[in-house]
Symmetry: C2
């Protein structure tokens, strides 16, 4: 999986636009992973819309992750599931998911990061990096420094999440993140495709700059 | 599984009493199945409390069913999962659950009942039989007649649900139900254990009466 631009859906923040329309535009702009995260949708709707997202992401060569509902992730043959600290226990999710699927875990501290990896996480969502209004339960911002600290301790892909936009995405990558996870910076944008493209460009340009011998 | 007295949890309707206290009292009164149904709980809490319910139900020789969250049901090694018309599609749930677990489906018509069985349901929750305030999404009452109609068409256990209490439980069994599913009649009762015991007695007495040659 390429973690460069990890777009998380939110129908509430999509300004009336259909989730599939949002996903399609985000993929057109180069999103490398789509996470289906709709806390208020019943499972049947998640499955119905998720089937289309699975089709679109396969076509685009992007990853597809389902938030929280591991059963829905399995039903959709998604690439994996992403869980937070209030979702399934990490070890339980790992065991239900089997070894072939990707397990992502949201963490807000080095301790949580180490614990998540010990219990079987494949990648980490670290945040909230900056202040955000997209997630009611996001907690206070932790800053990009936490990415650096976590990357020193664990050897798995890390994406920053929370308040990331065009103006601060480079800092997240500079701190060692493998990508940026965004909700409103893409799904609330006037032009979703362009917003995704611009973010991806910043991520990739920053990675290229960091990779150059100094 | 014995479907005689199928008690569905609801922390909102338990008048401040702890879910485990409610479950314990319901089991002491003879509940034959406990369904963990807490729509607003995150998965981690469902798993934590569910582990205790698994322990209590095994000790009591009662069944344990998890509402909606098939992943939680698997994690808890519950006896099965119960899904409604907005939850996972029945065929999807059947396939994720495997053949060894029980799949219950809520239906509100003969058509839904036939469809659920065709897709792999093991038992049906039919309702709302009477008017209820326990489920916001319960729909208008269908009456006991629907149980009779469904029992004529399908050969699986059926429990009536919705507005069932001590005064009308006998009608539900007389219409052909294998048991009664209740929320508030047990979890909101002053004395949960006595309420469960009284309901079970009505169900079993009615079954005994119906079984007698006339």
């Amino acid at each position: 999986m390429k973690y460069d631009l990890y777009v998380v859906t939110s129908s509430e923040l999509s300004r009336g636009r259909d989730t599939l329309e949002v996903v399609q535009a985000a993929l057109a702009g180069g999103a490398t992973i789509i996470q289906l995260r709709e806390k208020h949708w019943p499972a049947r709707k998640l499955v119905e819309v998720g089937r289309e997202i699975r089709r679109l992401t396969l076509k685009a060569g992007a990853g597809f992750i389902v938030n929280d509902r591991l059963d829905v992730a399995l039903a959709l043959e998604a690439d994996g599931v992403h869980i937070g600290q209030e979702d399934l226990p990490v070890d339980v999710a790992r065991s239900l998911l089997g070894p072939g699927k990707i397990l992502g875990v949201s963490v807000g501290s080095v301790e949580e990061a180490k614990e998540a990896i010990a219990q079987g996480a494949d990648y980490l969502g670290v945040g909230s990096i900056f202040a955000t209004t997209s997630k009611a339960d996001a907690g206070p911002p932790v800053g990009v420094e936490l990415i650096r600290q976590i990357k020193e301790k664990v050897n798995v892909p890390v994406v920053g999440i929370g308040g990331i936009n065009l103006s601060n995405a480079a800092q997240v990558i500079e701190a060692g993140a493998d990508g940026v996870a965004v909700i409103s910076a893409v799904v609330s944008a006037d032009d979703i495709e362009s917003a995704a493209r611009a973010l991806l460009k910043v991520v990739q340009a920053t990675k290229a700059r960091l990779a150059r011998p100094r």
